[in-house]
């Protein structure tokens, strides 16, 4: 039997799906953790602990960088002509990354705001 065309056109760039899955998961877990920490920072500020909130944001930024590196690796591969297989999991990973990035920016604003309210 001749394999379906879409199967022929789906040549995974990262040698096996397991590898791609792993990269996506490291993006999701690092960025997801960072996103949670940004929100936890806002929650700390809400309770009045501005110091703890700022520390939490700094830690979250470190965690976020890990996810960002995994993502940058894929971008670099693609820039070198190695096509990335786009799956729902990768889209989800990028979604988490973007969401974490936005929460990171906003969490600083929120903490500043709570700080001003508390004065």
């Amino acid at each position: 039997m001749v394999p379906a065309l879409w199967k022929l056109s789906r040549k995974p760039s990262v040698n096996n799906m397991e590898g791609m899955e792993m990269i996506c998961f490291s993006i999701i877990s690092a960025c997801g953790t960072a996103r949670s920490m940004y929100i936890e920072a806002i929650q700390e500020a809400k309770l009045g602990d501005i110091e703890a909130a700022r520390t939490m944001i700094k830690e979250a930024q470190q965690v976020f960088v890990e996810g960002h590196h995994a993502h940058a690796e894929l971008i670099m591969k693609e820039a070198n002509g190695e096509k990335t297989e786009i799956g729902l999991l990768l889209i989800h990973a990028e979604d988490q990354l973007m969401s974490a990035e936005a929460f990171g920016i906003l969490s600083e604003e929120f903490v500043d705001m709570y700080e001003r309210f508390g004065k």
């Binding site: 899955e21 996506c24 998961f25 877990s29 960025c31 997801g32 953790t33 920490m37 965690v63 989800h92």
Partner: protein
């Protein structure tokens, strides 16, 4: 049979972890039901759960859920375990938390 509930943002990425955990559970000879749900479904699935594990993306809900369900075992999945899809590792955590 223990009912293990995993919660993440969409229930999608975590369903892959479920597969790994199920495999590990079979190897451990541990009878259980494992399923992943979206955060929006929490209220429907918690009542029958023996343990609830939150993915790193939704772990900021931990305090809120622990207050809402004080009699349930609710915990988070550690980032490294989640990132490496360490099904066996998460199963160990589950067994310890349930007390077996």
């Amino acid at each position: 049979m223990k009912n293990i509930v995993l919660i993440c943002a969409a229930g999608m990425s975590t369903s892959l972890l479920v597969t790994k955990m199920q495999k590990a559970a079979v190897e451990m000879n541990y009878e259980c039901k494992i399923a992943a749900y979206a955060l929006a479904e929490v209220a429907n699935v918690i009542p029958t759960a023996d343990i609830v594990l939150l993915g790193p993306q939704v772990r900021f809900n931990l305090a809120k859920l622990r207050i809402a369900y004080p009699n349930k075992i609710i915990d988070t999945i550690e980032m490294r375990m989640y990132g490496t899809m360490n099904g066996a590792g998460v199963m160990e955590v589950v067994k310890k938390a349930i007390g077996e």
